[in-house]
């Protein structure tokens, strides 16, 4: 369904390779605010039809990066292309954007607010309002269509804004921290909606500081910390950055077989923990059996995105991520 993600880590600023058509291509984006570097040489390649996450702690440069990609602000250096266009406003009708700080006119009715957002993206106001009503019905908010935004609950207003982001049927949807402020139920609904968009060929890129969302939804991810992107590529490739961990339990605590364990093997309680050897597990198994280690249990655990994040961005960035929303990280 989706184009393969050919991107790999680019800590050394090598260009990412990409075979499929790109929705977004950014190279060397730099942005300074009053002399402070907010984004420092960001490279991104987002294939068309992908769900792509921009993962990083608050203040890492996620929003600034997205704003540059959308043409809201211009980069001080670097190139960005959205569907091949260097000026994103030229293809504004193809893009839907949900900013982190939600905003709607408080005195507008729900369907009018969606209509206005549609009109901004090139629909006629009448069509956009009519579609707004339909979308509200489809998402169980038909009863709120005539209510003003200030009369809606926060969650309902957020849904209205999201529908306004999608009313013109964009080919690229950019969501800045879309899950923030939503309860678990609405987060689940939003995840479903994102998957449905991607299933229809829409490219979705969203920023988040919650690793679980990126891990569940994204094929591709850019890890951003301190304005830099130390990794951009597939989620699988990110996880593969860390060798799988082997957990071994043996009857014997010592013996000649111990010489076969990798150098990083360490005892943790009754287990031996070590990285999966590059030669694979088979030679080790043979050595354990021949050395009468008495294998009680053996499991190979692949690294999660969180471990990959720590490995790539560093402990400090990971701590900042967790400090931002410990509850959400736990979900």
């Amino acid at each position: 369904m989706h184009a393969p993600l050919g991107a790999t880590a680019v800590p050394d600023n090598r260009p990412q390779t990409q075979t499929g058509p790109l929705a977004i291509e950014a190279r060397g984006l730099v942005k300074r605010f009053d002399g402070t570097i907010a984004v420092d040489g960001v490279d991104l390649m987002v294939p068309q039809g992908a769900i792509y996450g921009v993962l990083g702690p608050n203040g890492a440069g996620k929003t600034t990066t997205l704003r540059m990609l959308l043409g809201i602000i211009d980069p001080d250096a670097g190139v960005r292309r959205v569907f091949g266009h260097e000026r994103p406003h030229d293809i504004a009708r193809l893009i839907g954007y949900l900013p982190e700080e939600r905003g709607l006119y408080p005195s507008m009715k729900a369907y009018e607010a969606i209509g206005f957002l549609g009109a901004l993206r090139g629909m006629t106001l009448a069509d956009a309002k009519a579609r707004g009503r339909r979308l509200l019905e489809e998402h169980g908010l038909g009863h709120a269509a005539e209510r003003t935004i200030r009369q809606l609950s926060k969650g309902m207003a957020q849904t209205v804004q999201l529908l306004g982001t999608l009313v013109h049927e964009p080919r690229l949807v950019v969501l800045d921290e879309p899950f923030s402020g939503l309860d678990a139920l609405n987060q689940g609904k939003l995840e479903k909606m994102i998957r449905a968009l991607a299933a229809n060929g829409t490219t979705v890129i969203f920023s988040t500081h919650v690793i679980a969302h990126a891990e569940r939804l994204c094929e591709g991810v850019a890890i951003i910390a301190g304005g830099r992107v130390p990794y951009a590529g597939s989620v699988d490739a990110a996880r593969d950055r860390i060798p799988a961990q082997v957990r071994l339990e043996t009857e014997a605590r010592d013996g000649p077989w111990r010489a076969a364990l990798p150098a990083d093997a360490r005892a943790e309680g009754k287990y031996w923990m070590f990285s999966l050897p590059e030669s694979g597990i088979e030679p080790l198994l043979r050595a354990l059996i021949e050395g009468d280690a008495g294998i009680l249990s053996l499991s190979i655990e692949r690294a999660g995105l969180h471990d990959a994040f720590v490995h790539i961005a560093g402990e400090a960035a990971a701590r900042a991520l967790e400090e931002a929303s410990p509850a959400e990280q736990a979900r």
């Binding site: 402070t36 954007y97 968009l197």
Partner: protein
């Protein structure tokens, strides 16, 4: 969702259309807001300010170009009258005088009607039986001084000679002053409207920044379109307001009939003057509105708006005073400055339209102002685009994060 959507490769809302989307929203939102009700109450404040400024304007006009007493006596008597005037003027407040040959005009009324002079009244007859021709107000003010000068010229008789009064409906001086009042009223109205609107458009923008809507607009359409849309929406709102006020004023004048004394007809006539007022008002608003919008874009909070807009408000007041001052001195260097300076030019020209019938200067002035409007809007929009979204996370918190990340 998008597979069958009818998108063209280049999908961009044209600038004018994008500006229209913003303007339409703003226009309807403001029209049905409380702010518009306050805007409609504007004439009340206008009335109060007008009374004050008209009296200042009249005083300024009289000081700058006081009406002159035309002395239309026989040469011998005129010389004696002038000599007596010279003797007395240091001790008594007397009107300025000008000697007019009796042969130069068929009657005192004709002298009063001379467009190139500023005669308030005409003295004819003899020194012993002076005859004063002019408007009632002027006759009341000058009959005493005329009798005093005439008595002095006659070498001090026991009693002042009786002054015969010949009242006329108007004089060139009275008409000038009345047109000056019309000019002052027009430019005061224009000043109040532009101030009110510029403030409203700035508040509207700051509110939008506070509501975080500006980012959605910035992502969808060029910021130039946001700038232009907001500017013109408020102009449209003002036209509605003016239409409402105009309708009410027309109704009051119709019902009030002769009991009310409306302003003197402007030199170019009412229909043309109304058209010019709209044109100059639009120019004045677009110029100051673009300054205020740019300030709104640069100010992150309402408090910052107040601080940043203070110089603009002072500038606007300066422009108003310059234009009011130059109302009474057409052709003077101060008026030339007021005409040339883009922000005061609309005010100075509307004042001119009230007092001078020539039309060609208006074409030149409108072209000049349109050029500045274009420059102001373009520069304002550019600055607006640069500054309105210049809001990354606070540098301190970023530095804090970086410290953590490096530790």
């Amino acid at each position: 969702m998008t597979a069958d959507a009818p998108h063209t490769p280049m999908s961009r809302l044209p600038l004018a259309q994008a500006a229209f989307v913003v303007a339409r929203r703003d226009f309807s939102a403001i029209l049905f807001s409380k702010a518009f009700l306050f805007f409609l109450l504007g004439p009340v404040f206008f009335g109060l300010v007008l009374i004050g400024s008209a009296s200042i304007g009249r005083k300024t006009a009289e000081n700058a170009e006081p009406p002159v007493l035309a002395v239309m006596l026989a040469p011998e008597a005129a010389r004696a009258f002038s000599a007596a005037h010279d003797r007395l003027r240091d001790r008594v407040d007397l009107p300025r005088i000008a000697i007019v040959e009796p042969a130069a005009a068929p009657s005192p009324a004709a002298v009063l009607g001379q467009a190139d002079a500023n005669y308030g009244a005409v003295l004819s007859g003899t020194l012993a039986a002076p005859r004063l021709t002019g408007t009632r107000e002027r006759l009341e003010r000058w009959r005493g001084p005329v009798a005093l000068i005439a008595a002095n010229a006659l070498d001090g008789p026991a009693a002042f000679p009786p002054v015969t009064l010949a009242e006329t409906a108007t004089s060139q001086s009275t008409q000038k002053r009345a047109r000056g009042d019309t000019a002052t009223a027009a430019l005061t109205l224009m000043f109040l409207l532009t101030m009110l609107l510029a403030g409203m458009v700035m508040s509207n923008l700051v509110e939008e920044k506070a509501n975080k809507i500006i980012e959605i607009l910035a992502a969808a359409i060029p910021m130039d379109a946001v700038f232009i849309g907001k500017l013109f929406a408020m102009l449209g709102v003002s036209f509605v307001g003016i239409a409402v006020w105009g309708g009410i004023a027309g109704l009051v004048l119709t019902l009030g009939g002769g009991a009310l004394q409306p302003l003197a007809p402007p030199a170019v006539g009412w229909p043309l003057f109304a058209a010019m007022f709209f044109a100059y008002f639009s120019m004045a608003y677009l110029l100051i509105g673009s300054i205020y919008l740019t300030i709104g874009a640069m100010a992150p909070t309402v408090r910052d708006v107040q601080t940043l807009s203070l110089p603009a408000t002072m500038l606007q007041l300066g422009v108003f005073f310059l234009a009011t001052y130059s109302t009474s001195s057409l052709g003077s260097p101060s008026e030339m400055v007021a005409l040339a300076f883009p922000l005061s030019s609309p005010y100075a020209m509307v004042s001119r339209a009230a007092q001078e019938p020539a039309l060609w200067p208006h074409l030149a002035a409108l072209a000049w102002q349109a050029l500045w409007v274009l420059l102001f809007v373009r520069f304002g929009a550019r600055l607006f685009r640069r500054r309105v979204m210049k809001s990354g996370p606070a540098p301190t918190s970023r530095r804090g994060f970086l410290r953590r990340a490096r530790s």
